[in-house]
């Protein structure tokens, strides 16, 4: 697959603070690519260097075979959907969507606006002002305003975080659909691992300014290369140097082959599942996720825990 965007050993320091440390990434054309990490890990700074709002301290940014890091934002063929959306409050939906088309002297402005407004399902709301729109509608205006310019890469800075949780899951699917339909490369910044896993073709997990691991959602979830990646993507039981996800941990009252004796310390009802916390004889605690229909695990009861070797995650560190 052709790469469209490439970061070569990009670093950014603010005074003595290193925000991004020698990040190299290759983003294939047409992919939904996520930068995932906790706040302060450098993911937003990385995005801002691609958009042109920050200049890298060192390193290079290449877009479609041309170096873009010396260019100002208005000369880069990438567009940003801001976390707060940054819609122009004095312009209508149409005014916001047209803004870039007029600046970049596009032709057939009306037709382009109509098409993108339809794509994001805002028909009939063209003359509304941003203040009159719901959070979801605002987000779609922000998307439309960027997509109408046909950017080579669309940069999205936590675009779902301003939405309420109910809406978020719905918009997640919608956004993924939209990306597939129009085929534009998305570079999506998020701190929500569930969001990243559900939407991405590829994820780069960042921590402390560096990329810790880059791969498909399955790969980084099932074969994390570092403890940080393993822990950030979901709960993990640690038994010595071995990690096992709770959903891969079996728990039963009868002894199985290779099972270890444990005592149930707590049961947490999660809705579709129950998290059974148990303590091994060696003192280590772990969590097993069992179906909510399964009953009979009570605090203090003796159980056996086991897992298959292929679900084990080991780290050399």
């Amino acid at each position: 697959m052709d790469s469209i965007l490439e970061l070569r050993r990009v670093s950014k320091t603010f005074g003595a603070q290193v925000a991004v440390r020698e990040v190299s990434l290759v983003i294939p054309k047409g992919q939904f690519f996520s930068l995932l990490g906790p706040s302060g890990c450098g993911k937003t700074t990385t995005l801002r260097m691609i958009a042109g709002f920050e200049a890298p301290t060192s390193g290079e940014v290449w877009l479609s075979g041309a170096r873009i890091d010396p260019l100002p934002p208005y000369r880069r063929n990438v567009n940003t959907v801001f976390q707060s959306y940054a819609l122009f409050p004095h312009l209508s939906v149409r005014g916001n969507v047209e803004f870039g088309l007029r600046r970049k002297r596009f032709e057939e402005i009306d037709a382009r606006v109509r098409k993108v407004i339809e794509q994001v399902r805002l028909d009939g709301k063209e003359s509304r002002m941003p203040a009159q729109l719901s959070g979801g509608e605002r987000q779609r205006v922000a998307l439309a305003r960027s997509l109408v310019l046909e950017p080579e890469v669309l940069l999205l800075d936590e675009p779902l975080s301003a939405l309420d949780p109910q809406l978020r899951k719905h918009v997640r699917a919608e956004l993924k659909d939209l990306q597939r339909r129009i085929g534009v490369t998305f570079l999506f910044v998020t701190h929500d691992q569930e969001e990243a896993l559900a939407m991405s073709d590829q994820i780069a997990v960042m921590n402390g300014g560096s990329v810790e691991q880059c791969g498909s959602p399955e790969e980084i979830y099932q074969r994390p290369r570092t403890r940080f990646v393993a822990g950030f993507l979901g709960a993990m039981n640690w038994i010595g140097k071995i990690g096992v996800r709770p959903e891969c941990t079996r728990i039963s009252r009868e002894r199985e082959n290779g099972g270890r004796a444990a005592v149930v310390t707590r049961c947490v009802f999660m809705g579709p599942a129950i998290h059974v916390e148990a303590r091994l004889e060696t003192g280590e605690s772990l969590v097993a996720q069992v179906a909510a229909t399964e009953r009979g695990f009570e605090e203090g009861s003796a159980v056996h825990v086991s897992w298959s070797a292929r679900d084990e995650v080991r780290f050399s560190e």
């Binding site: 042109g52 934002p73 208005y74 801001f82 409050p89 803004f99 870039g100 600046r103």
Partner: protein, 275 residues
């Protein structure tokens, strides 16, 4: 709660009533009375004073006052905006610069306008220096004209545009300018299409804060404009002093007040608080 509010509002309310409402009512009453033989007012009630105001002589004074106030306001906004923008974008030094903008208020307005007289007059600093270095042969006529009045007004009221414009610029979400750049807007274009339109409230507030006092000024026009430049403020002052025509002065003052209030209402946008 309600009682507390009453207690808190009473002193200021009483002061405003005694020093603003009552005098306004007195002026209103005076404007319908006749001139006393030795100043003051006498009966009968009349509307003569307002009829005289419409006369071409006074109409011209009103027009000039509006014109000069409008020019001074436009200049204050044009000069104040770049200054406000500079201050809003100067990081930690903001407070220092804001302090400098307010600094002139520590000196009496009257003294500062007198200082301009000493700078601008024929034997003033500027003309003396220019004559000394032979840049000119005759003193430049810088004092006692409309230009000097406008200069004095702009000088005196510039902070009143800088402060509200600064307040709106300070609140402006910086990501809006990033969004503009992201969508292909160059810095000047973004200033014109995003920053300035979003400062509309600051421009309106600044315009009102400057225009209304400029309209009523008499110190600046008296000192820098000389006898040739009579504005409404001087007209009112003359009626209460030299001319001893209190009713006519009251009528002129009332007319000015009504016009200024009408402008305030006109400038107020639906659903938006002034200032």
């Amino acid at each position: 709660m309600r009682r507390l509010r009453t207690i808190f509002l009473t002193p200021a309310g009483a002061l405003m009533f005694a020093t603003l409402v009552v005098p306004s009512l007195i002026i209103c009453t005076y404007s319908f009375l006749s001139r006393g033989a030795y100043g003051g007012v006498e009966r009968p009630f009349t509307i003569d004073n307002f009829e005289r105001l419409i006369a071409p002589l006074y109409g011209a004074i009103f027009f000039r006052s509006f014109w000069i106030a409008a020019v001074a306001t436009a200049l204050c906004l044009a000069l104040g905006f770049p200054l406000a923008l500079f201050i809003a974008r100067s990081g930690e030094r903001k407070n220092l610069y804001l302090g400098l903008v307010i600094l002139p208020f520590w000196t009496s307005f009257l003294i500062r306008i007198y200082a301009w007289m000493f700078l601008l007059r024929d034997t003033g600093l500027i003309n003396t220096v220019l004559l000394k270095i032979h840049a000119i042969h005759d003193p430049l006529p810088m004092l006692y004209n409309d230009g000097a009045v406008i200069l004095g007004l702009v000088y005196g009221f510039l902070p009143f545009t800088v402060l509200p414009l600064y307040a709106t610029l300070e609140r402006l979400d910086p990501s809006l300018l990033e969004a503009a750049a992201d969508l292909g807007s160059k810095p000047w274009d973004a200033l014109w299409r995003v920053t300035i339109p979003l400062c509309a409230a600051g421009f309106r507030a600044g315009a009102i804060l400057v225009f209304v006092p400029c309209l009523g000024t008499y110190i600046v026009s008296d000192l820098l404009g000389g006898s040739k430049t009579i504005l409404i403020g001087n007209l009112v002052q003359n009626q209460f002093t030299a001319s001893r025509d209190w009713p006519f002065g009251a009528a002129a003052a009332l007319a000015l007040m009504i016009v200024a209030m009408a402008l305030l209402f006109a400038a107020r946008r639906r659903g938006e608080e002034l200032l």
